[in-house]
Symmetry: C2
Subunit: 461 residues, 2 copies
Amino acid sequence: MANVVEVVTKSILKIGQDDPRRVIHSMKVGLAVTLVSLFYYFRSIYQDLGTTALWAVLTVVVVFEFSVGATLGKGLNRTMATLIGGVLAVGVHGLATQCGHIAEPFLISIFVFFQASLSTYARFCPKIKARYDYAFLIFILTFSFISISGFRVRDIIDLARDRWATILIGVFGSLLVSILVFPVWAGQDLHNLIANNLHKLAISLDGYGNTYFKIKENDATHEIDTPKLQTYKNVFNTKGAEETLANFAKWEPSHGCFRYKHPWKQYLKLGALSRECAYKIDALDERLKVNIKVNENDHVHKFRAICNRMTVEASKTLKEQASALKSMTRTRTRTRTRTRTSSCKVYVAKSKEEMKSLQDLLKSTTLWKDNEDQLLHVISATTIISILTDIVTCTEKIANCTTQLASLAHFKATKLQNSQPESKCVDQELEKSTSASQHQNPTNVNLVNCSHIAIKIQAGD
Amino acid sequence: MANVVEVVTKSILKIGQDDPRRVIHSMKVGLAVTLVSLFYYFRSIYQDLGTTALWAVLTVVVVFEFSVGATLGKGLNRTMATLIGGVLAVGVHGLATQCGHIAEPFLISIFVFFQASLSTYARFCPKIKARYDYAFLIFILTFSFISISGFRVRDIIDLARDRWATILIGVFGSLLVSILVFPVWAGQDLHNLIANNLHKLAISLDGYGNTYFKIKENDATHEIDTPKLQTYKNVFNTKGAEETLANFAKWEPSHGCFRYKHPWKQYLKLGALSRECAYKIDALDERLKVNIKVNENDHVHKFRAICNRMTVEASKTLKEQASALKSMTRTRTRTRTRTRTSSCKVYVAKSKEEMKSLQDLLKSTTLWKDNEDQLLHVISATTIISILTDIVTCTEKIANCTTQLASLAHFKATKLQNSQPESKCVDQELEKSTSASQHQNPTNVNLVNCSHIAIKIQAGD
């Protein structure tokens, strides 16, 4: 029993620890409901308000959402739908009363039936469902409520007006609390989510680089940090959240660095590219799960150097994009982007060279006569290089997309940072490693002669 | 202008054409709202009902959902939450009035604040969010509504009772229409969705088999039917729908072949396996996009025969599972499952053999001296075979999962059908093709001699 209490308490606390804004949001809802109910209480002392005035409290409960965008969207949907539904219902009621006492309920029933059916049908339209679903629901609700009330209440114009006014008070109260007390902006959340996803991909790539490709001194063993490697998997499941946040963000007014017409669609594109990259990392993971242990030699060194450089390059590009997004700056001036892009191209070109030399290696006869199994291992190496090429190409696409976003959203441009020399340095190092191995293996024949290469594949880890 | 009208009309009609049940659902909502409002009308002639009675109509509008499960879930959530919220509010109101006229509003405000905050916090809990989110919303709503009404209404017990009773009427009316008039069961929808997804995978596999692997007479060209090939892509985006439907299905009472405790979780497992299979087909698609044109010879024939058999086998397994699911039968008796499983194993074994002989081919020297490019093509063939092996293994997993579902859900067992001989026939054919090529190429040396093999890779299609 004590165990159950402990588990429940822990899971309750975890909700708040995961995102402390949840605690604040809960108290904000409490505050908004209490404020509006107090308003109702003091008004009711001096004026004889009908129970319709309670709609203000109900509106707060229903409309108050986690982010400003969601609250605003729901509030506007509710206000406009109540207004239109109320006006139409009053009109229909006026028409029905003209037709006499007996025809009235039939006419009103027919109208209610048709508006409910047509509005429900409209809610299936994807565009309406995405942004105005709640408005159509409230439209049906208000229309039915007001026109049916006409059976009893004489002055339904007053009823409609009261209902609309109290809903307006509720929406206004919710928005006030939502915006003034620790506001949560859906746009900011979307922005952070996308930046974090890019960062997660970079962390995974770093992990693969360090675990599988980095040349370690003193023959240190490769420690496999699975949680770090698999960080990329989080990116698979954020599609729904991204779409919802982008939808809410569209309702939000200008705030901070986000203008009203911020290019939210661009974030969805970035999200899709992140997932594309994550799938490619997943393919890499599949290949690397069969742990490769090698005796160090020039060829293996070169292969590793290329793979390591490619992961380093891809990860660095992603990290740069993530931090540029987070700081909402254009760190990459035109010159720098060109440098990075051309550096990307260098790695893709180098990877192609490496694939070529692997194929040359495959052509050797001596090798297979020594060790039959090795053939499969060299094929595996070819595939790894080809996946890494895809990953580098994908990060290049991500970089272009971020640059486009930065220009569309008018992010501030910052000065050129130190990374151009750094990138040069990486290139030089790679150049050295490549030329060294080329020097040692000037022709295919020489490459073929390195028959002491021994790549062992061990299943599982 | 006429164009816009045409486009809008078409898109409106398309909603109904895509799923005619949407039209019926819209009319059902209209019917339910009208029925309950007529009830209110006739009651109001004889009895002086307060405006609270209108809650019945509002309940119908808010609770009536597309499927019985969703309506029932929302209805039960609303009814129970109103009951509990009402009882608590009456209790709190009684407590507050004991403390005097001045303390009353403060006490009630404090209670409203805390219950709204705590309930909102609870809504963040994933388990609550999945099934009881609406209940917590209605709890906050009812508690606030009833306790604040206490400021004005003297007899709030009557108010709470009326509110609960009218909501019960609304829920009852919705359920009556939802179940009696062309009911839509979420469980049935989930069942069909999963079966259709399996069928879509089978269609794609058939397409790849026919386009790329089938040996055609008279050198007919391979027609690429892209929409058919890419049917599998639909499977990627149904995860959300599956989870929602499974959630609704849990609320549904026993209907047709579905009992109350139907193993809905098993469908989610099948859904996950379908997506796993779809990703593997996507990998195959990536490989096959580079169109392979070959001069027919024994080796190519054997490669094609293996690939074709594997797609045929995988597709047949998937189709069988899909139709067994659709008809809710256990077509596969124990003997037959064993046959199918062993037949699966035969293909996996054959594919391994084929990979081995491809490797043997790679070892040949004569081949590469004739044509350097071919090396990459043989590597590509190895990869294709390895992906197909994964696909066959995955369909085997799907078959096991369906069998498990059939046993958990007590599907009816049917007699052994003709497919055992059919499967035998396929095996024999494969055996023939394999032994024929083995006969023609009894050793690696002979395989190596087929140097007239010409695989051309053309980029794009």
